[in-house]
Structures are given as C-alpha cells and as structure tokens.
Symmetry: C2
Subunit: 501 residues, 2 copies
C-alpha cells in the first residue's frame, strides 16, 4: 500500500510538472495572438518549440510509463483511477511509437508548410503550397503506419482528436445526415418567405459592442475571476491554468454577428474548461474528453442558446437599446429569422448551421482519399471544386475562397474537421436532454437565467473529464449514443419557424 501511494504521488508530481510546462506554452501562444510586439515572432516560435520538446521528453522518458504499468498491477485500484491510468497508458503508447527523429521532421515540415500556406494565400496560388502539403500527407501516412490500425489508417488520425471514433462510424453518420440536409436545404431555397438580414450589417460602435459582449459573457456564467477576454484576429479559447481560461473575440463595426457568435462560441469552450475539476490537475480527470465534446459546448451556447428565442427574449431589449438605429424598429421575430438565415457560401467559418456540414463532409472525404492514397495532392484543387459544386452549388473563384481557406492541413491536423460536425450533433442531443431533465429550462432562459443549465452541463459533461470517451459521456447524459436524428429534428423545427413552410 505504501508503495502504491508513493508511486501515485510521484506520477502525479510528474504529470503536474508537464501540465505546468504546457500551461506556460499556452500563455506564450495567447500572448503571441494578443499583445506580443511584432519584432519577437522568431524568438516566440523557438520558446514554444523548446517547451513542447521538454514536455514531450519528460512524458516519454520512461519513468511515467514504469509508474503507470506498476500502478495498473495493483488489485486494490479504484475504478476511476484505473480509467485515468489507462488514458495515460494510451497516450504513452501513441507517443512512444513516434521516434524523436520523426516528431522533429514532422514539426519542421509543419513550420515550413505553414509559411508556404501563408505565402500561397498572399499570392492566391495553391501551387506554392502543394508540394509542402504533399510532404505532410506523406508523413501523416507514415504516422498511421507507425501507430498501427485495424480497419483504416484514417482511424489513427481521428483517434488523436476524438478517441474511439472510427471512419466507418463517420460514414454512417454522414450517410444519415447528408440526404436529410439536402432535402431541408431544397425546401428552404423554395420557401416563399425569405428572411431579411440587412439590419445586421449596419454601423455598430466597437466600444458598445465590446461592452455588450462582456455583459453577455458575465450573464451566461463565464467567470471573469478565472479568465479574461481580449481582441485577436481569429477568436480562440486557451487554458493557461484550471483557474485561468481566456477567450478572445473579433469586432467588426459593420457586422454585429462577428462579436455575438464569437463571444457565445468561445464562452462555450471556456465554461467547459472552467468547469473541469481542478482536483486532478495534470491528470485525465481534469482534461476535456475530446474535440467533439469541446465543440458541442461551443455550439450549444452559440446555436441552441444564442440562435434561439428564449435567450433573445431575455436580451433583445438590451441590443435594441444599445443599437437603436439598427434594431429600434425591428421585431424580435424578424431578428430571429435574420440570425438564422441559410445561404450556401464558400467559407466554412461563415456558414450557417445547415450548410456547415457540407463544408465539413467535403474536407473529411478529401482527407480520407489522401490518406488512403486514392487522391493525389496535385489533383486536390479539382476535387475540392467539383465537390463544392456538387454539395453547395458553387465553384470557388479562387484559392482563398477554396482550398486555401483553412489552416488545418498546413498545421498537420488531419482528422480534425469531422469533430466540428460531431460537436453540432452532440450539442443538439445534450440540449434536448437538458430540456427534458430540467423543469422549465426555457422559461429560465427567457429570464436570462442560465444557472441550472450550466449546472447540468457541469454534472453531466464537464466533471467527467477525460475519464470517459464521447460516446460514454453522451450515453450517460442522454440515455443513448450519438443520434444524428436529434440534430435533424432541431434543424427541421428551427427552419420551419424561420422559413414558415
């Protein structure tokens, strides 16, 4: 027993040390996007790389592995602690299979590819990026081989972001989803009553928008004593300690939606991180379950809350008073229709809740083809454009509106995109169960009261940490595994109301 405690304490010490290093690295990244003077970019890259290298070395040095193996052999082990150990064991297995030489080669290729992705964007020329993307695809294929898989190499990549998820299951989900989305989109296109969203693109004072954002964030439960908001080019959430989860927003004076959706979206990510238990800092019990679950939290606050009536019944008068010129004579029902307008477009991050999933599916499909060697990078632009025509009825006029719009592949993040769709589906399913389980939830939201919803999310999702995978959390919280039809019901109900068919 003494040895067991001693080993557990040592493991905790080592894992917390790594968490400290990663936290410091997060602050370096936050600062880079917010306050860092331009001149320091090169040194900042070095600093982040050095800390990542040290954290990796410490994790795979052998001591953590030995401690975990030793602890797993004790019979008297607590089942939740065992789950925690098994998570670490799995992380080790993955990281130990990649030798340092490979990790450095990948990291260097990503650095270079990112630079050329930026250059290609400046010149609007995919060819400047394609050979570097090709290198990354090759390395990601190697990574799949190093780590090993049963059915499909793509499963290896998925598993990094969405533990337990498989390509075959995603195919199933999308084959349920896509035909229903297409049908709904057709009905929307043909609806006689199209919403007008012109008043969302007026003239909105930055300072007033900023203050409204802060008010909304405080109102829904984002804890400013354990976080802060700043401005950055691309909004993001970052955790620099369990008691310091920061978000950023972007404000456009001509379009109030930039601020609104980024505040709600990032607050959803951030309240998840703020709600993780700090008791097992450094261990899986204090970590987020997956990117899909993470995205479910941002989507839930952005869409199920922020794009629905109850929330705006509480907040519309504030926005009307603050921006009376734009909204003074706009009815809440017209505002609601405007913020839920559906319109196929080129850019994923600007997409509505419906067409968004076509963007994701195209990327998922392309990633699989690349990794399975069924598509070459040289043919990528054509494949992209063909699929955009097929799913969205549009052909990008240039690379910026097409193949070069996302940074993910330049970052080596293959298998990441599907988690966006999973997030939307989980969000609808979680919210559906919350409504069933919390009496009068929507009345509470109409009064601007989100406390019980937040409590429900904390208990059913946040506090599970990374001790369960997405499907387990979903089943415990909602009574069943992921069911895309719940998302479809949500969308159908919403667009019937918006498009009045």
């Amino acid at each position: 027993m003494g040895n067991q405690i001693k080993a557990a304490n040592r493991l905790e010490f080592l894992m917390k040390e790594i968490a400290d290093i990663q936290s410091a690295s997060s602050l370096l990244q936050w600062d880079q996007e917010t306050y860092m003077p331009n001149g320091s970019a090169n040194f900042r890259s070095r600093q982040i790389a050095t800390l990542s290298g040290i954290a990796h070395e410490k994790f795979v040095s052998g001591e953590i592995s030995d401690l975990v193996n030793g602890l797993l052999e004790f019979n008297t082990i607590d089942p939740l602690y065992q789950r925690s150990l098994l998570r670490i064991r799995k992380d080790l297995d993955r990281k130990e299979k990649l030798n340092r030489n490979f990790v450095e080669k990948l990291s260097q290729s990503i650095s270079t590819a990112y630079q050329f992705w930026e250059k290609a964007r400046q010149s609007n020329d995919f060819n400047l990026f394609s050979s570097h993307l090709n290198t990354i695809v090759k390395l990601k294929k190697e990574e799949c081989e190093f780590i090993g898989y049963e059915a499909n190499p793509y499963d290896v990549l998925l598993d990094e972001y969405e533990p337990g998820m498989k390509k075959i299951r995603l195919d199933e989900i999308f084959s349920t989803l896509l035909p229903q989305l297409r049908e709904l989109l057709d009905r929307i296109k043909n609806a006689p009553h199209q919403p007008n969203d012109e008043f969302l693109r007026g003239q909105f004072d930055s300072k007033a928008q900023w203050e409204m954002g802060i008010e909304i964030l405080s109102g829904i439960g984002y804890d400013f004593n354990r976080g802060r908001q700043d401005i950055s080019t691309h909004p993001f959430t970052i955790t620099t300690s369990p008691d310091d989860v920061r978000i950023t927003t972007r404000i456009s004076e001509n379009n109030i939606q930039e601020m609104l959706w980024s505040c709600l979206h990032e607050a959803g990510h951030a309240m998840y991180e703020q709600g993780l238990s700090a008791n097992s800092y450094g261990l899986p019990g204090s970590e987020a379950a997956s990117l899909g679950i993470h995205e479910s939290q941002s989507r839930l606050w952005e869409n199920q809350i922020g794009r629905e009536f109850p929330f705006w019944k509480a907040h519309y008068s504030t926005i009307q008073q603050t921006f009376s010129k734009a909204f003074g004579s706009v009815e809440l029902s017209d505002f609601y229709r405007a913020i839920n307008l559906v319109e196929p477009g080129f850019i994923r991050t600007n997409a509505d809740e419906l067409t968004y999933h076509f963007h994701v599916y195209i990327r998922f499909k392309i990633e699989c083809l690349l990794i399975e060697d069924k598509l070459q990078v040289s043919d990528l632009e054509d494949a992209w454009n063909t699929m955009y025509q097929e799913f969205l009825g549009l052909t990008p006029k240039n690379c910026l509106d097409g193949i070069l719009q996302d940074v993910h592949w330049a970052h080596g993040s293959f298998g990441y995109f599907p988690t966006y769709s999973l997030g939307s589906l989980y969000a609808a399913q979680f919210y559906n169960s919350a409504v069933e389980q919390i009496p009068n939830l929507e009345n509470q939201l109409e009064e601007g009261n989100t406390a019980q919803l937040l409590q429900w999310l904390k208990k059913n999702i946040y506090e599970k940490g990374r001790l369960y995978n997405s499907e387990e959390i979903c089943t415990m919280a909602t009574g069943s595994g992921l069911n895309p039809n719940i998302f479809m019901s949500y969308l159908n109900k919403k667009y019937q109301s918006v498009y009045q068919f």
Copy 2:
C-alpha cells in the same frame, strides 16, 4: 578543431534552451503583474517554480559543466569566447555548491516569508514577519558558507548582483560619499530660496498622461516594435526575448511625477536590454553586466537626462500645452527647480537624488550586521529607526513607513540594495564621459535628439554584455574605475543651480 566546434555548438544549444525556459518564465511574471485574472495566482506560482526548477536542473546537470571545462582546455580559443566560458564556469561554481535540498528550502522559506511580509504590512506589525525574516537571514548565512569567501560573508551575496564587488570597497565608497552628502544637505536646508513644487500635484488626466509617456518613450529611442508598455502597481522592466523587452508604468491623476520618472527609468533599463547583442542569445555576451550597470542606465535617463535642462528645453512646451492649467504660467526654470526638490522622507522609492543614498546606506549597513551576526532580527526595528533619525532626522511612525517598506528581504535579496547607489554613481560618470566624447551632446538633447547618446551607450556599455564586469566597463568607457566624486560634482552643480547658493 571539429570537436571544438561540436562542443561549442552543443553548449550553445543547451544554453539557448535554458534561455527559452527563462524567457517563458519572464512572460509568466509579466502577465502576473498585468493581465492575469486574480483567481489564477496559485497556479501561476507553481508554473514559475516549475520552470525555474527545470532551468536550474538543466544548468547543473553536468553536461554544461563538462562542455565548458573541455572548451577551456583548447589553446586556439578566442579571448572573448574564453571570457564567456569563464562567466558560465563561475555561475556553475556558485550554483553547483547549493544542493537541491537547500535551494528548495530557501525557495519555500521565501514564499512563506513573502506572504507574511504582506500580512505584516496589512496589520502594520513587524512581529508577524520577523521570525520568517530570521529564517531567511539564517539561510543566507548558510549560503555564504556553502559558497565560501575570503574577507567577508557579505561578499558572497554582493557577488550575485554585482560580480567582483566587495564590502570593503562599498565601505570606501560610502565613506567618501556620506560626509559630502551630509554637507550638501545642510547647505540645501539652509538655502534661502526653497523651490515650490505644488503645481506638480494638480489634476492630470490619465489618458493624456499615458499618451505623453508613449511620446516620450518613442522620442528617446525605446523601440515599440520590440517591446510594449502596460500599467502595473509597481513599474518594472522585463525581457521575454532579445526582441521583446517590456516596461510598465503607474499613473497617478494627482501627481504627474509617477508617470514621468517611471517611464524614463524603465526605458533606461529597457533600452539597455534592447541594445544587448542578440547574436549570442543564451550566452553571457547577450546578458547585462550587473545590477549596478543596469541601474546606471535607468538612473541616467531618469536623472542626468530627465531631471536636467536640455531634455526639458525640448519637451517642456508639450507638457505645458497638454496640461496648460497646471503648467501654463510656470516658467521652465521653476519647473526645473520643482522636479529637483530635496526633502528627507521615510520612503526610499520616493526619495530625491541626494537623500536616496542615506536610505541605501542604512539598508546596506543593516544587511552587513545581520549577515556578520552583529545584529539580531529582534533588534532590527530599533536599529532601523535609530539610523533613520541619525541620517535623515526622522523616526518612522509605523512599520509601513519604516522596516516593512521594501520587499527585498522578504524575497531573500540581500546584497541588492547597494547596487542602487552604484547605479547612480556609474550614471553620473558615464554621462560625464558621454558629454566629453560627443561633440555638442547637450545641444542635441535640447533639440530632442538622443540618437548619438544612445549610440554611445550601445557601443560603450550595451555591447559589452556580461563579458566584462562593472569596473572593467567603467574603465573602458570613462578612462577610470568608479569615482564617486564625479557624482558629487554633478549633485553640487545641480543643487547650486536649484537652491541658488
């Protein structure tokens, strides 16, 4: 030759890695004092401690020591590179003598002592802090024994901040300085024309002050592309990379001097750091020589520039226009007299250029007595009050105005205070030589042109890095070692003009 290059490259790699860790730690500290949400204080302490621990471990792991020893044996070594190696060797010698157990004990005692220093300040009760201070004094004495010394244990403590400085030399310096300062103070007290400084304590809009500060900083040569200014409770300078040296200021709406002197003072520190060569990042060639030399740079810009006529001939009209109510009808000569008012007070950081050195001397004297075991912590408050009466003619009414005013001892920083006086003396001597060596320097300053002065400082001080000690730098730049009489001439000349005797 191949081995020599290989070893030098490896040493550089390891030293740069440590510099990256220390840079990250600096950013954590900067953030703690500027933007960190309150809730995250505990985690931040851990993060900083972890990074310090890792940097220390890597430095004394043995590999660096072996590389340095090996490289020092080559005959073909460049003399400057040899200096660099010898600096590292000296740092290693010091750090290797302190075992990890001692380092951790000291670090924990400092953490605790700092908390009790804060509590004691809140309760205005030295007794709450004294036993913790006693522990630190004991540990510092142990540190002196571990490291070893020839003449006096205090030399060990001095050497950390001011390499090469000895207690016996400080005694000499102060025995030259103190009688002359006392005599000058008497003449000032008895002067018939006392300046009026009331107009400095009016009503000054924060935003206008902030903008004036930024204008002054840009004007004198602080590089905002490689730094930034923010607000903090206590102004400081911090280097988060050779290309990112940040400063902070404090603004009081009732007293414009807070902003003015902190901007110039911190800019002096920061331009030194910005002017260090980045070529040998991680090695002594890119590091500051000592705290005394560092302080000489802040004092030079604050006093020799900021409290003298040439600078204000260039800038007084701006301050008059911005704050016309306060300064509109005040002549430059009266402004000059006001900012150079001499008045004995309790608080070191508020002291004028003359009485400041009594504050420092009292602390130096007390530190020596404590370390030499000639004074007990229990008798400290009495000793402090007696000396304040003797040197400044004042007895503090409470601990906040007396023994508890500085954080240094709670931080374990013994041997630090004397570097403040050294800084003032070096500043006067450097400026004196700059005036001699740069034709028409004061005319340039009157035109708001600091470029040649900055160039002179860069060449004679900044670019020497830590390859030379303070006395060597002083001798190369000014033709002689530190000469306190140059500072006294500067003060005598100034106060003859201010007090018109």
